[in-house]
Symmetry: C2
Subunit: 330 residues, 2 copies
């Protein structure tokens, strides 16, 4: 299945493009990870996933139709050359929306995600761009269609269309039309996320390649869907009953299991740094002492803490540089 075919079926006839205001999409952190694709053209996952959006942290994007043959891409106030990877990826995504026209755009996009916190900006970035294009072209799409379209830019972008807890239904169709996220109708005041900075370096292996290597070479990966589906059920239960111990322990085991599939790949894919391991050991020691903190990690060396707002003072005493996010406000 080709993604242009899919988009063709979903999109109404676009109107003439108009300039938009800024559209915001939040970054998100998966508590049950997306790891492995069954279709890399369509970003179709092998397992369902569940995330929490990071409130005010994310991407703001506006688009404006321009004359001329090429898009004009601005990132955090700087104009990018058309041959940069970032500009090419954005323009390639916009191509999906301009199959019958040659309309070029000026795209202005800004991230307020703390650098070096290990938060991918592609999820919020493609979600915000999708929202802006929907507005500019007056497509009037529903959220589920916007989520599906954002997915074509970056898989986890489908979750960044929504606030709060979000589940990505993996779907089962070959064309991916049923693979999109939806919001979970539950809030959790007092849930806190802490961003620990371990390493600012560029990853040696990007997530896309890492997933492909894992799916191809890791035998243990065959049991990953079982892990993910079990964790998804537990997370729903934890969110329903506001059971923090269940939420934290499930998210931590899920993240460690994802990293386990990487570690068991060939060549080995180990995103951990010695400092990551030291941070884990510190967290486990504190938990042993009675402080209820858990962590999750994505395809990088950084840890994200999960804790309850009531423990914020104590957590900050142990991690003074922590940047705290309250996904549901305080």
């Amino acid at each position: 299945m080709d993604k242009f075919e899919l988009v063709n079926r979903v999109l109404p006839q676009p109107q003439a493009a108009e300039a938009t205001d800024e559209h915001f999409a939040p970054s998100n952190i998966a508590l049950c990870k997306y790891w492995g694709k069954r279709d890399s053209e369509l970003n179709l996952p092998i397992n369902p996933s569940l995330s929490v959006s990071l409130a005010h942290l994310g991407t703001r994007t506006r688009v404006e139709p321009i004359e001329g043959p090429a898009d004009d891409v601005w990132l955090n106030g700087l104009q990018l050359r058309a041959d940069t990877l970032f500009a090419k990826r954005l323009s390639g995504f916009i191509d999906l929306f301009r199959q019958t026209s040659h309309q070029a755009f000026r795209i202005e996009t800004r991230n307020n995600i703390p650098t070096a916190a290990g938060l991918a900006s592609s999820a919020s970035g493609f979600a915000a761009l999708t929202l802006a294009l929907n507005d500019s072209l007056k497509l009037g799409l529903e959220s589920s269609a916007l989520s599906m379209l954002a997915r074509l830019g970056s898989g986890s972008a489908c979750r960044s269309i929504y606030e709060g807890f979000v589940e990505w239904h993996m779907g089962h169709r070959d064309d991916g039309a049923d693979s999109h996220a939806h919001p979970i109708d539950r809030r959790w005041e007092g849930l806190a996320i802490g961003l620990i900075k371990v390493d600012e370096g560029v990853k040696s292996v990007d997530s896309r390649s890492g997933m492909a290597r894992t799916v191809e070479s890791c035998h243990l990966y065959q049991s990953w869907p079982l892990q993910a589906n079990t964790d998804l059920m537990k997370l729903h239960q934890a969110i329903e009953s506001q059971d923090f111990t269940l939420l934290g322990s499930t998210a931590e085991q899920n993240a460690l299991s994802m990293h386990a599939t990487m570690i068991a790949s060939w060549p080995p894919l180990v995103y951990w740094q010695p400092d990551s391991l030291a941070a884990m050991q510190k967290i486990w020691a504190l938990r042993q002492q009675g402080l209820e903190i858990y962590f999750t990690m994505d395809a990088g060396p950084n840890l994200k803490l999960l804790f309850q707002q009531q423990d914020a003072t104590e957590v900050l005493a142990h991690f003074p540089d922590l940047e705290i996010v309250l996904p549901f406000g305080s």
Copy 2:
């Protein structure tokens, strides 16, 4: 199935015990790991494993019948109190051989395994003790029966009955009578093993408990037998064709996959220290530069290098404290 029943069926009528000379059994390093039991009383594994014995490194043990009710256990020249874990474990094992008598023994056992190299002494220890008891009681057992008996002391001890490459057939019988090791009739001159010291501390979780936790709580473990069986085939092929790249890469992925199942357990079982990870990164960087070195790890933080004797000078330049073992001589 009770282990006393099993031993009863295997043992001939023991003769009156006699004092023995020292019996030696080598330590062994698994290239395809034993991880997980289907029967913890009988030490029956969930997967087959393959090891290489460490030549002169191991345990020497002699036994001597003594008067009195209790065994007298000496370890490395020091007499142990009867209530130490070590003495109790040894006496418990000897109980299997004295079902019809109350013969006590003086057991003198010595390890020449470098301390802090992360080599378990239980494998060579129970193998040497089995050999000594076979001699003392004039049982005249075949190697395969000795291997099966040693297994009841410590699973991997069944492999330490032999020199060189050794395979442990997991067997399928409930009584464990078909679960023992046998030697692989191939030598590999020039194969070198290097012991890197990372940490001397006592492990927080012993292998027996670690295996049990993994089997109980790790979803990814369901695919571990597939990994082990695949690796076993590859190792046979590597040994047959003396293909060092295949041997090393298979052993390294096998060890990392075993650790992956630990990491994905709950509570997480992470034997790695930050220094372990730093050593791995050093090995991967050197391999990238063309030096063919691989590593394996057991349930602890220490790494064991696999390389070819021809590269020993270069390997020593990077790891000056390395203790090198040549399993088949130089």
